[in-house]
């Protein structure tokens, strides 16, 4: 729990005149669950987007396992071991749940298009292995029974969890979850907390964006708080909850405060 797997150093992201991230620095340590919280518009999803290469940062540096991610192609960043889910579900609706995960596991195939065409032994073996792996992942997340259903016809909660299974399909070391509990009822949230812990126990590192405070505080080992693009706290859940700056960011300053 000590070596850091991902480190952001003085990351600044500007869109024209808007500074979405201002000099943000934090580490994600191996095999931890790091919660990333903040009021709306604080820049949480922007953090995900700069890590996964959707945006190129204005200044600063992002290192994953000691290697800079600057200028890397997005699919290469994913292949190097960072996977994510999306705040607004972005599954491939016309594919089955299993195919959704298999498309992600394809990341680690050796056989190419030509091998697939002529049914080379490597390609056939990999196809079989991937199918098995994808099913395993669906079972792991607890949605194995939906494997053959088209993603768009799945119930909302299953879709959210399928996003996690798909991200795991790329065999990441670090997985970024963007509001995985959005729209969940309390029972589903409890279920999800179990799944998140289970993923960590399986050896993955998790960076979690979540609006549901009780969930974040329950599962996270550490919490980073952003407000207006700036880091205002980085501590254990308990200490963050008591931090006056965090309370201020969420609730505002009482009028009689000095």
């Amino acid at each position: 729990m000590s070596t850091s797997i991902l480190s952001l150093k003085n990351v600044t992201m500007r869109f024209g005149g808007v500074t979405a991230l201002n000099d943000v620095t934090f580490d994600v340590k191996e095999k931890e669950i790091l919660g990333l919280i903040g009021p709306n518009g604080a820049g949480k999803t922007t953090v995900f987007n700069v890590i996964t290469g959707v945006y190129q940062i204005t200044s600063g540096s992002i290192e994953f396992q000691g290697k800079s991610l600057a200028g890397e192609k997005r699919y290469k960043i994913t292949r190097s071991g960072i996977a994510r889910t999306f705040q607004n579900i972005r599954l491939w609706g016309d594919m089955t749940a299993l195919e959704n995960v298999m498309t992600a596991t394809d990341t680690h195939k050796r056989s190419g298009l030509v091998g697939g065409l002529f049914g080379s032994p490597i390609s056939r073996k990999e196809e079989k292995r991937d199918k098995k792996r994808a099913q395993e992942l669906l079972d792991f997340i607890g949605i194995g029974e939906y494997a053959d259903r088209l993603a768009r016809n799945l119930p909302y909660g299953v879709q959210r969890r399928l996003e996690i299974a798909r991200a795991l399909g790329t065999e990441p070391k670090l997985i970024l979850l963007d509001e995985p509990a959005a729209g969940f009822n309390p029972a589903e949230k409890v279920e999800l907390a179990k799944v998140i812990r289970k993923i960590r126990d399986a050896g993955y590192t998790i960076l979690l964006i979540e609006h549901d405070m009780s969930l974040v505080m329950k599962v996270s080992d550490r919490v980073v708080v952003l407000d207006f693009g700036q880091k205002i706290a980085d501590n254990t859940p308990q200490k963050v909850q008591d931090d006056p700056r965090v309370i201020e960011a969420y609730l505002g300053v009482p009028e009689d405060a000095s």
Binding site: A83, T107, L113
Partner: protein, 343 residues
């Protein structure tokens, strides 16, 4: 709405191996027997029925299969597909009249030329998306035609004449007017193209294309090298178009820029959309109907294109997803309890 595609797939999936082989063979036999139905209601009153089978029908089917890889599978709107057809045809025309190479030797060269131009066009163009890609491919289609119109060596507006027919192969003669032989040869090329597309669709490449079509950004963020697969789709589509072009030139003996207008691109696109984007059987059905219909109703003379357009409009209203739409069905669930969704 009845989903013929799902019905067909269901029958196919229920069948065991010998039944499948039997179905495939009878299907191919039926297709191969088409040239003998000339005297029946299928006859095209004015044009020679057997020659209509070769061009436009079989040629359209082949090109529609190729374009379907680009549009139907990967969702890349290519409005200049005729360019690859033209490149194949002009390769045949040029090499066939100026060198001693024969059609079978030129066929791989034509395919390679088309694939190469697919890369040349694809690498810069595929950085663009949607409408921008459509416009740049549209331009490419026109550039090829205008180049042919202006290059001395390509015969300018006069085109290339005296392109040799294919030499005999396995003792089969390719006489100029034996349309049946050309049709059967094309049928073999079509079957090969179907095999290729089906093979790729069920594997990694098929999944990659499908994910790109549905959400390209999500695909890239899930580790799919989207650009590489888009170029591959383009190049494979081009190879089929190039093969069609080589064979077309060798069949008609004469090619000119007028044979490669934007209208061909639009027609092939219509075949794909009419038949059902992304579903190879739909695309084939679409190409057969759109290739055949204009000649079948030729007796209407001037009103012919009006009726053709009307059929298209009615059809797209009745079945907006095409004749045989892409897969929407789910496989049977493994156990019945799984229908109950947890909430």
């Amino acid at each position: 709405m009845i989903n013929l595609r799902d019905k067909g797939a269901e029958i196919w999936e229920r069948a065991n191996r010998p039944q499948r082989v039997l179905m495939a063979i009878s299907f191919i036999a039926m297709a191969a027997a088409l040239p003998f139905l000339g005297g029946t209601f299928l006859n095209t009153p004015i044009a020679d029925y057997q020659s209509v089978l070769v061009y436009p029908i079989a040629m359209f089917v082949l090109m529609a299969i190729g374009l379907n890889i680009v549009i139907g599978k990967s969702g890349l709107l290519d409005l200049g597909y005729v360019a690859f057809f033209a490149i194949g045809a002009y390769t045949m025309g040029l090499l066939g009249t100026r060198t001693s190479l024969n059609t079978w030797e030129i066929l791989p060269i034509g395919i390679a030329m088309a694939m190469f131009s697919g890369i040349i066009l694809g690498v810069p163009a595929l950085k663009l998306r949607g409408d921008y890609l459509a416009i740049i491919t549209l331009g490419f289609g026109e550039i090829i035609r205008i180049v042919a119109l202006n290059l001395e060596v390509l015969g300018r507006s006069g085109g290339i004449i005296g392109i040799p027919t294919p030499p005999p192969i396995f003792g089969i003669e390719y006489a100029f007017d034996s349309h049946r032989i050309y049709y059967w040869t094309l049928l073999i090329i079509i079957l090969f193209a179907i095999w290729m597309v089906r093979r790729l669709s069920v594997r990694r490449a098929g999944r990659a294309w499908e994910s790109i079509r549905q959400d390209e950004d999500a695909a890239e963020l899930m580790g799919v090298p989207t650009f590489k697969y888009k170029v591959w789709a383009f190049v494979l589509g081009a190879s089929v178009g190039g093969a069609a072009g080589v064979f077309y030139a060798s069949k008609t003996l004469f090619i000119a820029p007028d044979n490669f207008t934007l209208q061909i691109s639009i027609l092939i696109l219509a075949c794909v959309v009419f038949g059902g984007m992304g579903n190879i059987w739909g695309v084939i059905a679409g190409a057969v109907i759109l290739g055949y219909l204009p000649d079948r109703i030729r007796f209407l003379s001037d009103a012919r294109l009006l009726v053709f357009g009307l059929v298209l409009v009615i059809m797209m209203n009745l079945r907006p997803d095409g004749l045989l739409p892409r897969k929407k069905r789910e496989k049977a669930l493994p156990n019945k309890d799984s229908n109950k969704d947890k909430s």
